[in-house]
Amino acid sequence: MSKLLIMGMESILESIMEARGIRRSFGSIDVLSGLDLEVRHGEFLAVVGRSGVGKSTLLAILGTHDLEHEGTLSIAGRVTSELSPSELAELRREYLGFVFQDFHLLPELTAMENVILPAVFSGRDQGPARHQAEEILERLSIRADETPTNLLSRGERQRVAVARGLVNGPSVLLADEPSASLDMESEQTLFNLLDELRREMGFALIAVIHSKAVLDRADRILELREGVLHEMA
């Protein structure tokens, strides 16, 4: 199913992502036990919870990186368990963006190269991808020079990771503590920009967040506790 068609169906589809009865265990430990979640287009969901409660696991499942779970996950109307590895890769590329907790940048590459990496490896035309990457990097105040990312500051790397997550124009951006390395001012700048881009691009943002200053921006705050999500006021 093409992305254009799906976007055209947005008015019909209430949610872009839907998880039902998600269970995930590691040995005898149940991390997620029958979790339900519905993500609507363009909304900002903040996921909170104690350390080790399974927030990163939840994001890995929603990002289709972790497939060893029970329950059903649908993205853009497609049930992930019914898709082949190639179709899953296509789904990730077309609908999902990911900002990892440890950035997961390739250290030898420059900011620009890291950002266009998914487009280049997908065989997409480099021209538009570079143009889009330049625009996003500029808005995130990252110089598109020849400096390898291992020489950038932690904050700069974090912003490169955000830019890489957004470059394909995702429907859902999954961010695992995207502001963990940033000072308060940079954190606010980052989320101001994410809000702005979210309004422009229309992607939903699911972010694991600890900072109370950012939580106010979220449309919904979900606390992960005892393996299920609890909506907070």
């Binding site: 972790d66 060893e68 890769a89 999902l96 990911f98 997961h104 390739l106 997908s122 065989g123």
Partner: protein, 429 residues
């Protein structure tokens, strides 16, 4: 697949990792180099052995020699059955035998002297009398093989030179002669003198006789220091210097009525306590020796190939293991698996092809260089073969192709396993 994007993908993927490939590709380079070198030189050595060990004995002939070691005048060992008139008559009486051509040594010292290419040479020799049939029908028409001392004033003593003697000259065993670079064709027609009754190590009581001689043919079926001359001439010399001696033959060349009778004649010869030599027997001996050399070279090439290939594959696999994380990132970002696999396979195949083709090219050059160097150092080799390196393009291509497919295939299989690993596991530190 779009080439600019693929090129960029390869460029980004390999950034900072080129050094990792150098070792693995270096091993493949060396493996193909050694493979080509050993195949080329191995086949060249095979050719050389074939050439040295071959015989121009026809299939229906059996060469009969006495059991004891003998070399004419230089008799080193005696005893056992000798080939006398009675023995020859017994063979001549057999219904299996068409013809018997005897050979006889001159039991007097002799020497050969002359000039070749402006260089003087001297060699102590043994004259071996052979009949005209020994030369074969094609040569009989051109060479007058009847010669006695009475003809010495008007004509040359016709000589058949042992090709083995030429090889000895060429191997510089006769240093004082400085006669290297002789070929069987090159010595034909050379004039020289043969002195009878005296050599550098012995002298008969009767005065020596010197006759003019000319090399008319060469043969691989003669003893090392023997020079073939007409049978009646040797008979005459033996009677002149050793009048009381009974005639003993140095060899009999028996021609069977049919080639199928040769085994029966060999049994007959061996039952009499004599030695029999046939083309098949010589070929079998050569086959064993060449087979042993080939097996040794093949084993060596295989050992080098296996160790180099396993090192190369190990390095490729280790490199992939070290880059599981990077692959995990690419997969997490939605890179199509097929495209990743295609890019990887293209890279490995391309790099391995280049390494192996370059290695094979250098292997060919080295083999050619080694062959040229050995041939320039040794005229004995030069006279035997044109080149010590043989390049069977088909076999070399097959060997290189096999290595290429094996190394790429194994690395690709390992890569496929990584692609089937869950992304979360690949991203785990």
């Amino acid at each position: 697949m779009k080439w600019p994007e693929t090129r960029t993908a390869l460029h980004l993927w390999n950034r900072g990792h080129w050094r990792d490939y150098i070792f693995s590709q270096g091993m493949l380079f060396i493996a193909s180099l050694l493979l080509v070198f050993f195949i080329a030189i191995g086949l060249g050595v095979q050719n050389l052995l074939d050439r040295f060990l071959s015989s121009d004995l026809p299939a229906e002939q059996v060469r009969v020699t006495p059991a004891g070691m003998q070399a004419g005048f230089f008799q080193t060992e005696s005893g056992g059955i000798e080939i006398t008139e009675d023995v020859m008559e017994e063979f001549q009486g057999s219904h299996l035998v068409k013809r018997v051509d005897p050979q006889i040594y001159a039991h007097v010292p002799a020497s050969l002297r002359g000039r070749l290419g402006g260089q003087p040479y001297y060699t102590d020799i043994t004259l071996e009398g052979v009949t005209g049939e020994f030369l074969g029908d094609s040569l009989l028409a051109e060479i007058d093989w009847s010669y006695t001392l009475a003809d010495s004033a008007e004509s040359y003593l016709p000589i058949i030179l042992s090709e083995n003697l030429l090889l000895l000259y060429n191997a510089a065993f006769a240093e004082s002669n400085d006669l290297i670079g002789l070929t069987p064709d090159g010595v034909l027609g050379t004039e020289c003198t043969v002195t009878l009754g005296r050599s550098s190590i012995a002298e008969m009581e009767l005065p020596s006789i010197t006759v003019r001689a000319r090399i008319e043919a060469t043969s691989r079926n003669m003893n090392l220091f023997a020079i073939g001359v007409p049978f009646q001439f040797v008979d005459q010399i033996n009677n002149l210097y050793l009048p009381g001696d009974s005639r003993r033959y140095s060899a009999l060349v028996i021609t069977a009525n049919r080639a199928e009778d040769v085994p029966e004649i060999v049994r007959m010869v061996e039952a009499m306590g004599l030695q029999a030599e046939t083309r098949r027997g010589i070929a079998q001996k050569a086959e064993v020796l060449v087979g042993a050399v080939t097996a040794a070279l093949s084993a060596l090439a295989a050992a080098i190939l296996l160790s180099a290939l396993s090192s190369a594959i190990h390095t490729l696999v280790m490199d992939l293991k070290n880059r599981r994380f990077a692959l995990g990132v690419l997969m997490a970002l939605g890179t199509p698996y097929r495209r990743l696999a295609m890019i990887f396979a293209f890279q490995i195949f391309f790099m391995s092809s280049v390494s192996m083709v370059l290695g094979a090219g250098l292997g060919c050059l080295l083999a050619w260089g080694a062959s040229s160097a050995l041939l320039s150092l040794s005229a004995v080799l030069r006279s035997a073969v044109d080149s010590l390196a043989v390049f069977p393009i088909g076999w070399l291509s097959a060997g290189i192709g096999l290595m290429l497919i094996t190394s790429t295939g194994i690395a690709y299989a390992f890569f496929g396993r990584i692609l089937r690993t869950p992304v979360t596991r690949l991203l785990r530190p």
